[in-house]
């Protein structure tokens, strides 16, 4: 740690052995993004502050946690995965990450291994005006079960900044990957993740996403390619727009093999003057696939906006694709009903929003489900 600013996160770049060595303010902020600084009930941890890797470790045999650069140096075969799911030429942001030194994490579960506890990764933005660039590679090898929580967050004093995160997921035959991402950004931060996942036969990819804090701009449209027979993907998203946040999120799934299934469930709540675009695009390329898209939105301010854009694209016959989208304000009779049970108007509204956001995150252990619930409820200020 630099002596010039021992307490501040900006100049902290030395490696640490445990997340408990982090400064208190960083521990506090990252814990709000689902990171457990005590590392209790976690099978491994990764911590990146700005562009510095502070920690990459695992406590479980058969599971690897490395920073991407080290992993690329260690494994020559990784070039077959690096920039193979995401196209580096996709846009200016992917290009920017390509041109930078590789940062981010490499997490891999070896064949047949099941993570005892989730692994956790924190991507922390601690310097004013910085564009954090991250490239993550996650591989769940055949028959393994991998569980990761990623918390992306920012130091409380940051007024502006950017996060560009490339994530490439590979779920091999019969493997299962549950990836839970919590975003806790700030009003001046622009966030542009670019994620693509490949799922092989019988594999399952579950992506849970939560964003409850204001952000300047969030643009997130991960894609999944269901390549092998019987593979499936589930996307669950909970998004809360506050202040002047512009949130453009969604998921796109290409169902390319028979017997594949996709489910995309989103809940969006728009407060203040926020704008939320909730997208979803399911593409059925072969027969005998099943895909469902669900988006529900609550608009809680006259100046807020939710624009749901569900798209179903059937390129074959004999496939089952459906969507439902419902956007509106809270029904007054529901508020009155709760008031007739003794709640004030504010309490009733809050109870309804809390209920609305209660999405059962499939694949999450009960304890983690409770942690996530706590994180979402903390942000309910009404």
């Amino acid at each position: 740690m630099s002596s010039a600013c021992a307490a501040g996160p900006e100049n902290m770049s030395d490696k640490i052995n445990n997340l408990s060595e982090l400064p208190e303010d960083i521990k506090q902020t990252s814990s709000l993004a689902g990171i457990n600084p005590t590392e209790k009930e976690r099978s491994g941890s990764f911590f990146q502050l700005d562009q510095s890797i502070l920690c990459a470790k695992t406590t479980q045999v058969g599971v690897e946690v490395l920073d991407t650069e080290s992993a690329l140096n260690k494994y020559s075969w990784l070039k077959d995965y690096y920039w193979k799911a995401v196209d580096p030429e996709k846009d200016e942001f992917t290009k920017a990450v390509k041109e930078a030194a590789p940062r981010g994490y490499f997490i891999r579960s070896l064949p047949g291994v099941e993570t005892i506890f989730p692994l956790q990764a924190c991507l922390y933005l601690g310097s004013e005006g910085l564009a954090q660039k991250v490239h993550n590679i996650i591989i769940a090898e055949e028959g393994s079960r991998l569980h990761i929580i990623t918390g992306c967050t920012v130091s409380t004093h940051i007024k502006s900044g950017m996060h560009i995160g490339i994530s490439e997921f590979y779920v091999k035959k019969g493997a299962s990957l549950t990836f839970t991402m919590v975003h806790n950004w700030a009003e001046g931060v622009e966030v542009r993740p670019r994620s693509v996942s490949h799922v092989e036969a019988g594999g399952t990819f579950i992506s849970n996403y939560i964003c409850m804090k204001p952000v300047k701009l969030l643009q997130l449209y991960p894609a999944t390619h269901l390549l092998g027979q019987g593979s499936r993907v589930i996307y669950n998203s909970i998004v809360m727009g506050k202040g002047n946040s512009v949130i453009d999120i969604g998921s796109r799934v290409f169902l390319k093999a028979e017997g594949t299934s996709a489910e995309s469930i989103a809940r969006a709540v728009a407060y203040d003057e926020s704008k939320i675009y909730a997208r979803g695009h399911l593409i059925g390329e072969v027969p005998n696939i099943k895909a469902h898209l669900e988006c529900r939105g609550l608009v809680l301010s006259p100046k807020a906006m939710i624009h749901a854009i569900p798209e179903l694209e059937a390129r074959q016959e004999n496939l089952e694709m459906s969507h439902e989208a419902a956007v509106g304000k809270i029904a007054e009779r529901e508020i009155l009903y709760l008031m007739s049970r003794g709640l004030s108007q504010e309490e009733a509204t809050s109870a309804i929003v809390r209920g609305f956001l209660k999405v059962e995150m499939k694949g999450l252990p009960e304890k983690l489900q409770a942690e996530i619930k706590k994180l979402t409820e903390m942000e309910l200020t009404i």
Partner: protein
């Protein structure tokens, strides 16, 4: 003791007069059954007592336990001791029945929840979202379970027997009756079958915006069945009792 006193209540809905100077008095311990033809304003009267927006009186006053509650909000009235089992309650996505019971009475113990829900045959519904996918009878039982949990001094039951099979009417009726042994209630019913189980102490007839008749529940119900509501208008014999 006068528990609820309504003076000269005038209520309009969408510009149409519904209650036209209604006077109504309910004493503590009374179990009043409220009759009236469709559209007479029975439910509107209960909504006005509970203070629902849109049901604010044009004039008149409502007193509960001698306190003027005319300007109070719904939850303020509920805190004073008024509760209501709705005829058509909304469903609440994401809120489980068990959570709702905890809202109804914050200090309720898990044992009490278990017992109360078992008594109402609602045990398996505790983990379900309130009224979501409930049948008519299940929704009525859920309403009653909430009211029994809430324990209001004055309970308003808006057609607890509508859309309910006979077996469930008996069960609901007996539960209401048992509850009203120690509390006060107003029950709206059309069919009157529930009165076989709810021992009402007084019946009132709401007709054309006013209480026009008050008296013995069984006699009044018989009169209505035999002669219809028109007869109540002509019959002034019991009017002084209201």
């Amino acid at each position: 003791m006068e528990l609820l006193k309504i003076e000269n209540l005038q209520l309009e809905l969408g510009g149409k007069p519904i209650l036209k100077g209604l006077d109504f008095l309910v004493r503590a311990g009374e179990r009043v059954v409220l009759f009236g033809p469709n559209g007479a304003g029975k439910s509107s009267l209960l909504f006005a007592i509970l203070g629902f927006p849109g049901y604010e009186p044009k004039s008149g006053r409502i007193f509960f336990k001698s306190k003027d509650i005319t300007a109070l909000s719904v939850n303020e009235r509920v805190k004073l001791g008024i509760g209501m089992a709705f005829q058509n309650p909304p469903s609440l996505r994401g809120i489980k029945l068990e959570e709702m019971l905890k809202i109804c009475r914050r200090d309720i113990s898990p044992e009490e929840i278990e017992k109360a829900s078992k008594d109402m045959k609602m045990g398996e519904f505790l983990s379900r979202e309130v009224n979501l996918g409930f049948s008519g009878g299940e929704a009525k039982r859920a309403e009653l379970l909430q009211i029994l949990t809430q324990r209001p001094e004055l309970a308003l039951f808006d057609e607890p027997d509508s859309g309910v099979d006979l077996e469930n009417v008996e069960m609901i009726g007996k539960q209401i009756d048992s509850f009203l042994e120690h509390n006060t209630g107003i029950v709206i019913t059309h069919q009157g079958y529930i009165l076989n189980f709810v021992r009402a102490t007084r019946a009132c007839v709401l007709y054309e915006g006013a209480i026009i008749c008050s008296g013995n529940p069984k006699e009044i119900l018989e009169d209505i069945r035999e002669k219809g509501y028109e007869q109540c208008v002509r019959c002034r014999a019991r009017k002084h009792e209201r």
